[in-house]
Symmetry: C2
Subunit: 448 residues, 2 copies
């Protein structure tokens, strides 16, 4: 067949890019597990009625059916999941009797959306979610916790792998609702919906909507806009809100809750979490804290990590399961960083040592050295052909393999000699003792 | 919503089962990377024409389309991949200019088949594949290599995780073809096709087909059946074949190739690889070595790990890419072993330590201890509520968390005391020094 073309919206990495992605996923997993989150993996498909419950999302779903579905078999009743929240809510209900609550889980999987592809927006992409779900109730300190766990995870990606720093923007839906109610507004969602357009249409247009469509007095509209304009990396936002002179019990609750998130975050990673009172996350199922995240230098990607508190992640009619969670768009970040060469791997293979082969007759000696190195955890392969040594060294060089091992030769140790092909240094070597520098053992993530 | 029911053929694990699966996948990955295989992950979908090239498989494909595909948009042109070989062949062609050959890759992903579900047969399942692909040519020693790498991987699953032992059955398609040609048969595939039914219909029925349908003389038919009956864990099969008195150049090639696989395997893991001259792998694209694998005690599952040599994994008209690979059905093994409780995890969460909370006022002290433990790699969570200590201990016990840490108390170390809730032993403790026994640090896989 002719050379196939990539499918728009379905990114795939070359081996070096995949090494970067694996390092990112390993790091996320390690942080989540250090915090006691258990891994869950759900099937790729859900019944269509579970996926289309929220009208808006319907157009993005991929329907799945058997090519030769049997006569009478419901053919179109499955779709690919478009996030990991809907499947997780179903998993919690399905397995509630076998889970211990509060249940902490992380989930790292592909999701699919039939959106128009563009940079940072894909039709197939990988998300990493953490959620804590309670049975009946869930303490508010978990809102602080999930933000800090995700911040720690993203900070490790920065310090260990060179991913740009992030800023998590936090708000609380109770704060806005309480504020609007304190202004005498009854339909607080109608106000939120219009204020949510601030970034798109600007303050004047939002004010016009509030006054024109909702009949809000000019002064109240100004206060709504003033509230949305408040942002601070510390608790000073509380005074700024108080200065607007609005009072409501729910507003106090929201201010307290948001202040505890910002205070705790400032102690762990100053400046990385800011209170940002315009964050709404649309009219989604969130009911308390909401999170959005910007990647420094890549703000145009939009939020790379979002989430919040939902009073009812799931309910079976008898029991309600409230939750709080946050989700990072791994492919959204890496598609751009790897695609533009900002991150790459120190080599394109796991191999640390290539054992050269003198001739096909002595291949067994090379295989034996390789086996002993692997037994001590050194990724090793044996040259595929007994080419001239120069060619075998080029074989290693093309892949970025740092060491070539020669089983014979003059200045040889008990098992020959090993050459660092970057420096040319060649030393006698023993396959039961030689160890590469720790930085060379596995491929590293480096700036492109 | 009411409690959802599982979807037949789409297995999902509870958290303890998922820990087993992760341990298996981590172990496979580590073995593959020690041998220099690079990870590749391909998109879940392929164009339907790539998936349906082999007539037989068509009925198993899941078609994927956007629920609201635009007018005129080809709606049904994508399907979920049913194996990892078709996507990998496409990946090799698409990226040939960026890959270094021979290219060694492993790929661990879900695949989908619309088959009727039964134990060990799923509609969504995870496979782990290794392949080595050459550009133009590929040396035969790689046939030995992939069998040994997979054997090493499966042996580690046995010795480290308690997966039952395997037997890899190996044959070589050249051996059978050469033997049939040596008997004067022209359409060797027609013979192979009938001999392949041996397990299903028995030797008498196969003989009847060879004589009746293909017009093979009785004596030649008997020899074909005799060949299929030969099996040995060492090179003695060569003499057994020779004793049948058939001669052909291709037969010699096949015998040599198969003997090297069996010889090398016997040196590494005696008895685990047997020459089995009835193995055909259908009329698939294999052209040399073929592998099938039985799991001891679960032979009824059929082959849990199969593969072989294909002279043309892919071709763009100018260049042909021969390959050799082998694929293990991870879900086929684990669906049964976890489902029947033969394998489970020592606990259902990654957490090693639960830090108890005296009161909500002192939660920060508990959080600080947890932070210091995590900084030293100890998975730790903090109790969600300041319940009575007995209740907090039961919280840990339900999840299998082995240690509960109390930040205050009488016999306390600098950071309180830590209690092994299995033995009741409670010792003064310092969060910068205390270390759990290595076996308790992470959940372990244990017999169910």
């Amino acid at each position: 067949m002719a050379r196939p073309k990539p499918l728009s919206g379905f990114p795939e990495f070359l081996p070096a890019g995949r090494i970067v992605e694996q390092a990112v996923l390993d790091s996320l997993r390690d942080t989540f597990e250090l915090h006691g989150f258990a891994s869950v993996e759900t099937r790729a498909v859900e019944p269509m009625d579970a996926l289309t419950r929220k009208g808006e999302i319907t157009k993005e779903v991929y329907v799945v059916r058997r090519l030769h579905a049997a006569e009478g078999e419901a053919a179109d009743d499955l779709g690919l999941h478009f996030d990991l929240t809907v499947p997780f809510a179903r998993y919690v209900l399905e397995n509630a009797g076998h889970l211990a609550f509060p249940f902490r889980r992380y989930q790292i999987q592909k999701v699919w959306r039939g959106e128009r592809p563009q940079e940072g927006r894909y039709r197939e992409f990988c998300q990493a979610d953490i959620d804590i779900v309670g049975e009946g109730s869930l303490a508010e300190h978990h809102d602080v916790e999930v933000a800090l766990v995700m911040l720690e995870a993203l900070e490790r990606l920065r310090s260990e792998l060179g991913v740009p720093p992030v800023t998590i923007h936090v708000n609380n839906r109770k704060l806005a609702e309480g504020f609007y109610r304190g202004l005498g507004v009854e339909d607080h969602l109608a106000v939120l919906q219009r204020v949510d357009k601030l970034d798109k249409i600007g303050p004047d247009a939002v004010r016009a909507l509030l006054v024109g469509e909702l009949g809000l007095p000019g002064e109240a509209s100004d206060k709504c806009l003033a509230l949305a304009g408040i942002t601070s990396p510390d608790e000073s936002f509380v005074d700024a809100v108080r200065a607007l002179g609005v009072r409501h019990e729910l507003l106090d609750e929201g201010l307290d809750a948001l202040a505890s998130v910002v205070r705790a975050a400032a102690a762990v990673a100053p400046g990385r979490v800011v209170a940002d009172l315009k964050i709404a996350r649309g009219l989604d199922y969130y009911t308390g804290t909401v999170y959005e995240t910007e990647l420094a230098g890549y703000e145009r990607l939009g939020s790379i990590c979002s989430g919040g508190r939902y009073d009812s992640l799931a309910s079976d009619g008898k029991t309600t399961y409230p939750g709080v969670g946050i989700s990072v768009g791994v492919t959204r970040i890496l598609g751009v960083l790897i695609g533009r060469g900002a991150l790459t791997a120190s080599r394109s293979v796991p191999t640390c040592v290539l054992v050269a082969v003198d001739s096909e007759e002595t291949r067994d000696a090379a295989l034996a050295v390789a086996r002993r190195l692997r037994a001590r955890g050194v990724p090793t392969e044996v040259a595929p052909r007994a080419d001239k040594f120069g060619k075998q060294i080029r074989f290693a060089d093309r892949r970025g393999i740092p060491f070539v091992w020669f089983t014979g030769g003059d200045a040889a140790g008990p098992d020959g000699s090993v050459k660092d092909i970057r420096t040319g240094e060649q030393l006698p070597a023993d396959a039961d003792r030689w160890t590469p520098p720790p930085a060379d053992l596995r491929p590293r993530v480096i700036p492109g």
